[in-house]
Symmetry: C2
Subunit: 372 residues, 2 copies
């Protein structure tokens, strides 16, 4: 079992990682005997996990209600938030009710946001059930919903009081969903930790076969890296947290153009990282041999490294412009400088972007090691 503490200002909360946590749930949840809890989950997960968890909690004298939302990114909307509020208000849930997010990033983002604004803020706990949520979405307090005019446009920073990561959840996850999470894992390694990248090269197969030790170590390292970032830059002001967007400016263009959910987030980010790496090559701040290492690792994880055939290079630009105009003050393009380190680049020309995207359009060849 691994324990990590996220410290933000004066407050802090624990992340607990292990297999078999749920049979022992009560030991890990910061709940008291008479706590009142509302579990938020979806129609896919409720039949598998809800009954057991509810029984565990009931046995301890904890009052449990639940809200079961339809499954899917397209339900990460205000309507779902409002549905949660209806359930809370109809059941007279007060400010001392604690929400529990039981699900992937969608349920986590929704539940966290509902907690952020129900009666001006109540507590919540993350129990992430996808790999992507366990290594990324459940940590850091970014919460929110999509708006018809933009993804994640509405939200709040609101930290959970605990994150409980049980690797057993991953047993029922599809391999495609699992791979989507690996993309974010590789992202951490590229921008922050060469040694971890090396570890991934050694252990990617163990990870894919859900080896418990490999999983625990990998999740712990990702949580540590993210916790560090958040401790020093909770609200993405200082520019450290922004590095976590590596691959995302390109990736968002793919997700949006292809229609959310068709390309999984991690799949789009995988390609986005290569596009960012190619951009960095053009700017002569990154060497193609390193891009090759990233490509090789992504391919072993069964992740795409080429953009969708349907998308021309110029199809990316409007989305990237929009990202820039609407979401950041400047064109924030995170670019790698070597494996384990990245910077924020503020003005990449469209010409270079188009060239870099084109190199990942249909087939990414492993380039020869050209030393610059």
């Amino acid at each position: 079992m691994e324990k990590i503490t996220v410290s933000i200002g004066k407050s802090s909360y624990p992340i607990t990682i292990a297999s078999g946590l749920l049979t022992n749930l009560i030991t890990f949840l910061p709940l008291e005997q008479k706590s009142t809890v509302m579990i938020v989950t979806n129609q896919t997960l409720a039949p598998i996990f809800l009954k057991e968890i509810t029984q565990h909690l009931n046995k301890q004298g904890i009052k449990v209600n639940n809200v079961i939302l339809p499954d899917g990114e397209k339900y990460k909307t205000w309507e779902s938030i409002n549905y949660i509020f209806n359930e809370l208000l109809n059941n007279l849930h007060g400010r001392d009710t604690i929400l529990i997010a039981l699900g992937g990033g969608v349920i986590g983002d929704l539940t966290g946001f509902a907690a952020a604004i129900y009666q001006r803020g109540i507590k919540y706990i993350q129990i992430p059930t996808t790999f992507l949520a366990q290594v990324d979405a459940a940590i850091g307090g970014k919460t929110g919903v999509n708006h018809e005019l933009g993804k994640n446009m509405i939200g709040a920073f609101h930290q959970p009081i605990a994150v409980i990561i049980d690797t057993d959840f991953l047993l029922s996850l599809s391999s495609r969903q699992f791979a989507s999470g690996i993309a974010e894992v590789i992202k951490y390694a590229v921008i922050f930790d060469e040694q971890f990248f090396y570890w991934l090269e050694q252990n990617i197969d163990a990870l894919i076969s859900l080896n418990p030790q490999a999983l625990e170590y990998c999740i712990r390292r990702c949580c540590e890296l993210k916790a560090n970032v958040i401790s020093s830059d909770e609200k993405e002001i200082r520019g450290i947290r922004v590095l976590l967007n590596f691959g995302h400016t390109f990736g968002h263009a793919i997700e949006a153009y292809m229609g959310y959910g068709n390309w999984l987030h991690g799949e789009a980010i995988a390609v986005g990282m290569i596009m960012a790496a190619r951009t960095a090559e053009h700017l002569k701040i990154f060497q193609s041999q390193h891009t090759n290492r990233i490509i090789a690792l992504l391919q072993r994880a069964k992740l795409p490294v080429n953009g969708p055939i349907e998308m021309k290079a110029t199809d990316y630009l409007p989305y990237m412009q929009r990202d820039k105009k609407v979401f950041s003050k400047k064109m924030h393009l995170v670019l790698p400088t070597k494996i384990g380190s990245a910077i924020l680049h503020k003005s990449v020309s469209d010409k270079i972007l188009v060239a870099a995207i084109n190199e990942c359009r249909i087939f990414t060849e492993l380039k020869n090691n050209i030393q610059i």
Copy 2:
């Protein structure tokens, strides 16, 4: 001109109070030459004030958009928030856009909440135009909207970066709306400041006739009192801020039963304060001679001191129970102990509540000074 600073944790913001501020607006707004601003106001106020303010700002090179909402408490809803988001996103407003709330408490609460959750939080400025908003709603960072199942149920704490109070706005305000604000002024005096209560007894007529000096002094004192409370208890955790709810548990019952907007907030609070005072008399912690002083002052301000004839005492209780269950952990009834001081009482019996409400049901007689 009066200046007050609200200090919360490491950050602080100024409240500026004077007449004629708007002709000099630019001096008081923390905006830079190339700032981008979105003014949120309503259909009543836009024709009166919007053009002048926009011109002032444009002259300084500030880019100004606006959103004009329909007027009324019934539009303090998620739909209005979403309308603001549509305007922001359609016009590609980024995280550096500053919202300006130009209006009463409804516009202030809406704008503040939109700012709290647009892209996880952007800056906003309050320019309150009602007396109630100038002495209360615009200060303190409580923002939010109503839910069909409860008033102010959804929201966030989000402090503005500045509050600009121009007493000239009050010239166009109806006297009924003005009186509604006086109820909150009297509230401050009863719970915090006997001397201020005395000042009000001396100056209530000057206030009602909008004497500039009286207005400035009165608004300053209210802002100071509220700023002090907020500095030590921003999120209503320590129980000091909760004292500001004096009169509100009863008042909310009136507002909800009568249908929001039929009784103005301040009108309901005026009666609520008398009901709370009578409750305190029953508990022998407050003397009826002090209730009489409050009644006399409210009456001079043209505020009601009796509940609506339609409402039986038992009609209040379900709303008060609901307030208790849903909004606070305990039955928080704020009761005065003398003029200038109040406490939080945690368990008043229904019998006493009914008796106290009945005393304000149809006609509140000035009781004789019975010493307890």
